[in-house]
Amino acid sequence: MRRLLWPVVVLVLLLALNVFFTPSFFSIQVREGHLYGSLIDILRFGAPLILVSLGMTLVIATGGIDLSVGSVVAISGALACLQISEDASVFTAVAAALGLCLVLGAWNGFLVATVGIQPIIATLILMVAGRGLAQLITDGQIITVNSPAYKVIGGGYWLTVPFGIIIVLGVLAITAFLTRRLALGMLIESVGGNAEASRLAGIRARGIIIMVYAFAALCAGVAGLMISSNVSSADGNNAGLWIELDAILAVVIGGTSLSGGRFSLGGTVLGALIIQTLTTTIYSIGVPPETTLLFKALVVTAVCLIQSPSFREKAFRRRGRAAPAGPVAEEKVRVTT
């Protein structure tokens, strides 16, 4: 598809940059029955972001936004680790954590669809309160667990493939099925594209909106399990910190408009991979740590600019001059910082 052209180009450029600095970048080996390599690492460490971004895509497609996913990531990991540290089975712990996430997501959806609060405010409530909730669960400490079964979620392997990648593929498949094989995707795009016309066409938007917020929280919950499982501990303060901004960015890079309507799951996955590759690149080409965030911001700005058709038009017309940032691009940059 043409609209995925630029994200693909950017990803390829980033990968090429890595190969230039690290010639062995593309090599993938099997060590001790596990796949190893930089590309595998990008997928493995990018898995939580991809999950959160998938949920965010559907929320944004309805014309909303979910700022609370980072806090939900923390809550999910915290509750699971607390349960395990209190000798609950891993299954119970995971079920309890995901159950709580569903409830929290449904709460967001209730505030947006039934009460009618603007999405950015409605989810801001849980973004702030959720951090507190996570700290309540962990009692302000970092809970460390020692459970090989729990460790599998974020750090394990299955048929040589990191388990996190398998989870992402599974969630992606389910999401694609629900939205593209069933009619959910069309109804979401319809509600996001024109809410009043959708109502007059008989679509019950309320249920759909509650569902997508619940789904976004569920995805964030799984990501939270992955993150805490990978380090065998739960940190209410820092787990998933700012991941909502990366996720929003991934969705936008993937070609889904913040104003709602058409969405692209493939684009979102690409967007999340670009962000993760960028993080990896920063380390591998040796950008000084104190300039990391600045470097990331610059690259993201460039990515957003190159995707904007009106900017490309301007840049071609005024070749040779310093490229001024268009208003659209500035808007996007604000999201990243």
């Binding site: 069309m186 024109n194 066409a201």
Partner: protein, 503 residues
Amino acid sequence: MVTPAPVLTMSGIGKQFPGVKALDGVDLRLLPGEVHALMGENGAGKSTLIKVLTGVHPADAGTIELGGAPVAFGSPLEAQQAGISTVYQEVNLCTNLSVAENIFIGREPRKRGRIDWKRMRARAAELLSRLELSVDVSAPLSTYSLAVQQMVAIARAIDIEARVLILDEPTSSLDADEVEQLFRVMRRLKEEGIAILFVSHFLDQIYEISDRMTILRNGRLVGEYLTDRLPQVELVAKMIGQELAALERLHGEAKVFDRPLVEARELGRPGAIEPFTLTIHEGEVVGLAGLLGSGRTEIARLLFGADHAGTGEIAVGGTPASLRTPRAAMNHKIAFCSENRKADGLIPDLTVRENIILALQATRGWTRPVPREQQDELVGRYVKALKISPPNPEHLVRNLSGGNQQKVVLARWLILEPRLLILDEPTRGIDVGAKTEIQRLVAELSDGGMAVLFISAELEEVLRLSHKVEVLRDRRLVAELPNDDELTTDVLMETIASGGRTS
């Protein structure tokens, strides 16, 4: 009596928007101390003319003279400083601020750099007493009714040394007493020599308050008239654009309608439409005639559950029904093609196919997708039957022309096989060919037993298609006329103009 020199003269005003000629050679003159009504249907160019006058849009052609000197305003602020004040339909005040603050916002009286609150309140009270209004000027504006808010807006407008006051539909949200109060104020300002340009859809009000009127139609000037020399029938004819072509009625033989499908009894919604009683039979085409803003769309929206009814009840097929949501109406097989297809009909980002199956999919819920073969079959059939062009179902609907977009919305409802199809202005803004096709389709559908509620600003069209015509005026259903040989556009216009009182 010597006619005083006009305070404002606009001549030969032209304004082009992309794809539309909004104004073409329009003249307007305002005399001091008169209420001048600007008349025309929606889209006739009234708002554009006001916007050109107040500097919102630059004019492409023509000149504006204020007090004899040519002027060209770059912004509403410049116009205001020159003495042209505007009060818009939606009161654009800050309801959270006090009455006095609203009047003096941006130009508060100051004393040594700080706001002189005492003087501000005193002057506000003085201004309002000039409008025969005594309210607590330090109370928040939100504590007062819309009518008072309107007065406050007027007070602010006239305090700026106004020579011309533009009132754009100030009465649309006021009740009768409030309108009377507004008119008292207007007469008072008139005596002070202010020229008032008044826009309203209510003909009675126009005849009560205005001295002179300018009529626009399709962006062109129809003429300037003295209000008491122009009978209402002629006004309506001039606004609509009379065409006395011989009418070919699409319904030949008289049909007998004895099976009521939808019966509304005393159905109404405060502020939108007075309670009305209406029965639609199976296979019957009911036309709604009336000027824009007379309550036609409001009736349609109530029957479809798009708005909640405040009073009355409704029965479908003889049993009482509750139509609280569009979905509930759809379950009773009622369909509604709205007047504003861009805002209320289409999902521009979706394809023709998706837009067509949207309502069907909505009734099935997201878990039971319409199978792709069935989609293609249904969409293909209607794309062909309605001659939707380009005949590519995967085309984005936003790229279609207006007439084809209208057909897409129509197809969306036809695949549901409704028993009552409500069409609100289905032929507006579309070309003649598509118009005839849609008219023929309506006739065919009703022959097949479907009831149709047909709303159109074009009386000829209503007459051609309808079995009976409901006449609306000022948000009231004033008459029900069987469509027999005696019914002509003249009779209809007469009924609209007189409000059904004489006939």
